[in-house]
Amino acid sequence: MTTTADPATGSAPPEGAAAPPGARPPRWWRLLGRDWAAAVAATVLGAVLLVALLGPLLIGDRAVRQNLDASLRPPSLDHGFFGLLGTDVLGRSVLARLVEGAGTTLSVAVPAVLCSLVVGSALGMWAGFHGGIRESLAMRLADAILSFPSLLIAVVVLYVFAPSVGNLVAILAVARIPVYLRTARAESTELRSRLFVDAARTFGTASWPIIYRHILPIALPTLLTVATLDFCFVMLTESSLSFLGIGIQPPEVSWGLMVAQGRQYLQTAWWIAVLPGVAIMLVTVSATVLAAWVRLATDPAQRWRLTLPRKRRGTRPVTPEVTA
């Protein structure tokens, strides 16, 4: 079974691959290096992750320590490193609060995305593999969740249960399950009639091992692309909810909450509200750009485009008929 097509390493390129047979595809970090936009995006995301993990060790209690003498200082270098981005009305360092907020924001977005990725993909692949009543049931469930705005579900749930990180993660995860469910189902309906799945079935392999060994490796790149894109959506929803006062509650710090808190000082101290918004935008734009790159890099039929200089890439549009 060593010849099972595995797009992650590309040991056996499926049909449509441009690379000559036998040649190993370039390593992913080389492809990343050739696309400066994706490289910048990956660096930004990596830096934010690092700051969220290690930052709290460096800032201590500066994110919540009040100092009324230092109230509403504009961004400058005069007051040390933590005064770099100014202070809010209680004299708390905006830089320290941004670092603290990065941790909170990621601790909501990452678990929520992972939960919906795992549950939605498993359910979708199972539904697509079996078809029939199981498929229609799963799809109706997805339609039901997807046809209502996530905020609508969130407001009711957060009214009935108190807003907390756990509840936020749960709501956001449930609201995004359908996205993965639909993608995974589409992939696995197509894959279940392939020869290697038939072969595995003939040998008497049970359905979950087939899904795990033969369907998941092929569906995974698509699912990961969806997850990267979805990360933006989850982050934006969390910050909207926090901004509206029904998400993260003070004294915890989140970027959306910081914008809300800075809003009333907008005319006198723009940096309190504007900077957290810039931080949100930086992360979401990076995730979108990276998702576009991942989509190309994980597709064996498209990956060659990344090895070309940027100018020549895709001057001739791919016609869907060629691969069909």
Binding site: R140, V155, V156
Partner: protein
């Protein structure tokens, strides 16, 4: 067409039922529903009286029956804040949101078709790359941040536009609509571009060109019509998502719509109004889903055909 419509209504009704029952279950799951309606300071007698008056002391099936009756009659009880009927309050707030959403979606779809088609006409040209970057950024800007920065620049610094409120001429519409517009516009441009690139390289476009059709007719008559289907689906989903944006925009600009009503009733613990607002929004979205499906069927003959089992 009648069969198609009947099937669509039946399958769209399932999510609606799901929300109606979901609100009921949530209100009962969290403990005593009286806690949700009455302020925290209510005395024991008040609670018992309220519970008896609204049937919360009855069995769950009996409560469910009462609740469904209320939903059908649009009778959701009275607001704790104003004493008005909750259903009426929601119906008064509704047109404001609807106007905002309708104007936004019309502009978003038209602008996205224009920008997306221009970008797709020469894939990977400078125009294409610029508009793709613009679309990606637009889709990832947090709307609440865009709104307050817009207020800071155009309302406070330049004093061109009012910072909030609904009294005045057309200028009050600019910032709320711009805020609502960015996300649908960003997403739609990417969708239009994608499906136009595919459509423009399809054989029927080659045929149209070789028959001597003008470029304008090729792009807008042949390619665009075939590229509409995914655009319509995504536009429908985005309209549903517009409710999310409406909550934010209405809160920031003091727009007296349903989103502001929802947030106000959460922050002041007014469950009757919140329930009415959520359920009415759910019904509207149910209707919208059907409209999108019918439009779909009118444009694309393949959708109209009943599915053979």
């Amino acid at each position: 067409m009648t069969v198609f419509l009947r099937n669509r209504i039946a399958s769209s009704a399932i999510p609606l039922l799901f929300v109606v029952l979901g609100v009921f279950c949530l209100a009962r799951l969290a403990g005593d529903p009286v806690d949700l309606y009455l302020p925290l300071s209510a005395t024991e007698e008040q609670r018992a009286e309220f519970s008896a008056a609204h049937g919360f002391d009855q069995s769950i099936p009996a409560q469910l029956w009462d609740y469904l009756g209320q939903v059908v009659r649009l009778d959701f009880g009275e607001s704790l804040r104003t004493g008005q009927s909750a259903g009426e309050m929601v119906l008064t707030a509704f047109p404001a949101t609807l106007q905002l959403a309708a104007v936004t979606m019309v502009i978003a779809v038209l602008a996205a078709i224009l920008v997306g088609s221009v970008a797709a006409y020469r894939p990977n040209s400078a125009v294409d790359r610029f508009s793709s970057l613009l679309a990606m950024t637009a889709a990832s800007i947090p709307d609440f941040w865009f709104a307050i920065v817009g207020v800071l620049i155009f309302g406070v610094s330049l004093e061109w536009l009012p910072t909030s409120g609904v009294i005045g001429g057309p200028e009050i519409w600019v910032l709320p609509i711009a805020t609502l517009l960015i996300r649908p516009f960003g997403v739609l441009v990417q969708v239009v571009r994608g499906s136009m690139v595919a459509a423009l390289s399809a054989p029927y476009v080659k045929v149209a060109r070789s028959k001597g059709a003008s470029e304008r007719r090729v792009v807008f008559g042949h390619a665009l019509r075939n590229a509409t289907t995914p655009v319509l689906t995504v536009a429908g989903d985005l309209t549903i998502g517009l409710v999310n944006g409406a909550v934010v925009v209405e809160t920031i600009f003091g727009w007296p719509g349903i989103g502001k009503l929802m947030i106000d009733s959460i922050l002041q613990r007014d469950f009757a109004v919140l329930q009415a607002a959520v359920l009415l929004t759910a019904v509207t979205i149910f209707a919208l889903n059907i409209v999108v499906d019918v439009a779909h069927a009118l444009i694309d003959a393949r959708v109209r055909q009943p599915v053979q089992a």
